[in-house]
């Protein structure tokens, strides 16, 4: 099942040239870029693993693409996303986030519905491979 979270996730996967163009846009706005990866795409999993520190003071997207290539080589079957951080408000807030790598076969997210007191229902989701 295709995971949809962050920008562009309803579009076909971005090519490297398209990713470069998006990163250029972020750098033009003065945002720092961080590379993160995970094997657990559950929407409640906000803490993905960081691939190195977020990159500040970059001028060109090539620097990000080098890190992305290194991360893809190390984790070809993981989800990888790029986060763009904006510091204009004094905190590094995420302005943009998009997935740039997906496993060849994506896990499904399964919904479990349980009956509870009275006629209440509770829902839970888990990632199934």
């Amino acid at each position: 099942m295709r995971i949809t979270q962050g920008c562009f996730s309803f579009l076909p996967d971005l090519s490297d040239a398209q990713i470069t163009a998006q990163v250029e846009y972020c750098l033009e706005n003065g945002w720092a870029i961080g590379v993160e990866y995970t094997d657990d795409p559950h929407p409640r999993n906000t803490y993905w693993d960081m691939w190195g520190n977020p990159m500040f003071d970059l001028r060109d997207a090539k620097g990000v693409m080098m890190e992305l290539d290194a991360c893809r080589a190390a984790h070809p079957d993981a989800y990888i996303r790029l986060n763009a951080f904006d510091d204009t408000r004094g905190v590094e807030s995420v302005k943009m986030s998009f997935i740039v790598n997906r496993p060849s076969e994506e896990p499904t997210i399964h919904m479990q519905r349980t009956d509870f007191e009275g006629r209440t229902q509770k829902y839970a989701w888990d990632v199934r491979r």
């Binding site: 003071d57 001028r59 060109d60 990000v64």
Partner: protein, 310 residues
């Protein structure tokens, strides 16, 4: 959208391209702002011409390889290596050989780490910042320490070599340092010599050139030297050149900074009434003559104790 489908033009107008690229402007700036350095300017002009012709060839559909643009600047301290590197970044940007045209200036400390496993990320970090621009490595020979084979400099060198080869389209590396030590460095690291196409030598400035530089520096800070001060400065340059650690334009800049200090002090102690702008911006002979260089000592040395021999 697709470059390969367009039909290449039959002719190309080099003069028009030269004007359109804005290279002329950079070269004019180079001529106006940099005094002397004729061999350097000639080499830069040649390089610019080559790159322009290369681009024209590519547009006509002729075989064209990305030229190797890594350079080495050798010369004594204060001969304008960093300044030229800055201009080079602008020039290469206008010619379209680097995408952003910024200059990242580093020394050994910025590349080499302090413990095992620290060097590679540090070097990569710098390289990432330099992508799309020019990486200027000042005193590059410090990267290689032949007397210590465990030195982490070697690791930085290996990463640099790899990136210089694989990312030729993404960044230009300029290495700078004194001529003799750079020669030893290249001899010990043949990989660098073969990857650097342009070796540019920076000659020392002549006395006349240094005087023109002094006037330019002062004018940029709205100061001027009166005739007495000019004569004293000419004498200063001559004397200073014979003393150790002479750093061309940089020594001159320091001397002038100290002259401004003495001028301020003189104005304080001498003047009682209101001062004109003229008085505030004129460096006079005594401001220069007070330098220790005229008494046989280095300007930077501590004053000699009584009875001490030089």
């Amino acid at each position: 959208m697709d470059d390969t489908t367009t039909i290449p033009p039959a002719t190309v107008d080099l003069a028009a391209r030269y004007e359109a690229s804005g290279v002329a402007e950079v070269l004019r700036e180079l001529d106006a702002e940099l005094i002397g350095l004729e061999p350097v300017k000639t080499r830069i002009r040649e390089t610019a011409a080559l790159l322009l012709v290369d681009r024209a060839r590519r547009d006509l559909g002729l075989v064209q390889e990305t030229p190797t643009l890594h350079m080495s600047f050798t010369g004594n301290p204060g001969t304008g290596k960093t300044t030229v590197a800055q201009k080079m970044a602008g020039l290469l940007h206008r010619l379209g050989y680097v995408r952003k045209g910024h200059l990242v200036s580093v020394t050994r400390d910025d590349l080499v780490g302090q413990y095992i496993g620290h060097t590679a990320p540090k070097t990569r970090e710098v390289l990432k910042k330099a992508m799309g621009g020019v990486l200027f490595i000042d005193e590059a020979y410090y990267l290689y320490k032949p007397d210590n084979e465990r030195d982490y400099g070697q690791e930085a060198i290996e990463i640099l070599l790899q990136v210089m080869e694989n990312n030729r389209d993404d960044l230009v590396v300029i290495m700078a340092g004194y001529a003799d030590r750079m020669d030893t460095f290249f001899a010990a690291n043949p990989g660098f010599r073969s990857r650097i196409a342009h070796h540019i030598e920076f000659p020392d400035y002549s006395d006349g050139e240094l005087m023109r530089i002094a006037e330019q520096m002062m004018a940029a800070q709205s100061y001027r030297l009166d005739d007495g001060a000019k004569a004293a400065l000419a004498e200063y340059v001559e004397l200073r050149r014979k003393q150790p650690h002479f750093a061309n334009a940089r020594s001159l800049r320091n001397a002038l900074d100290r002259a401004r200090l003495r001028q301020a002090n003189r104005l304080f102690s001498e003047s009682s009434g209101p001062l004109t702008a003229e008085a505030l911006s004129t460096i006079q002979e005594p401001d220069i003559r007070a330098s220790r260089v005229f008494r046989g000592g280095l300007d930077v040395d501590r004053p000699r104790q009584q009875g001490e021999t030089p």
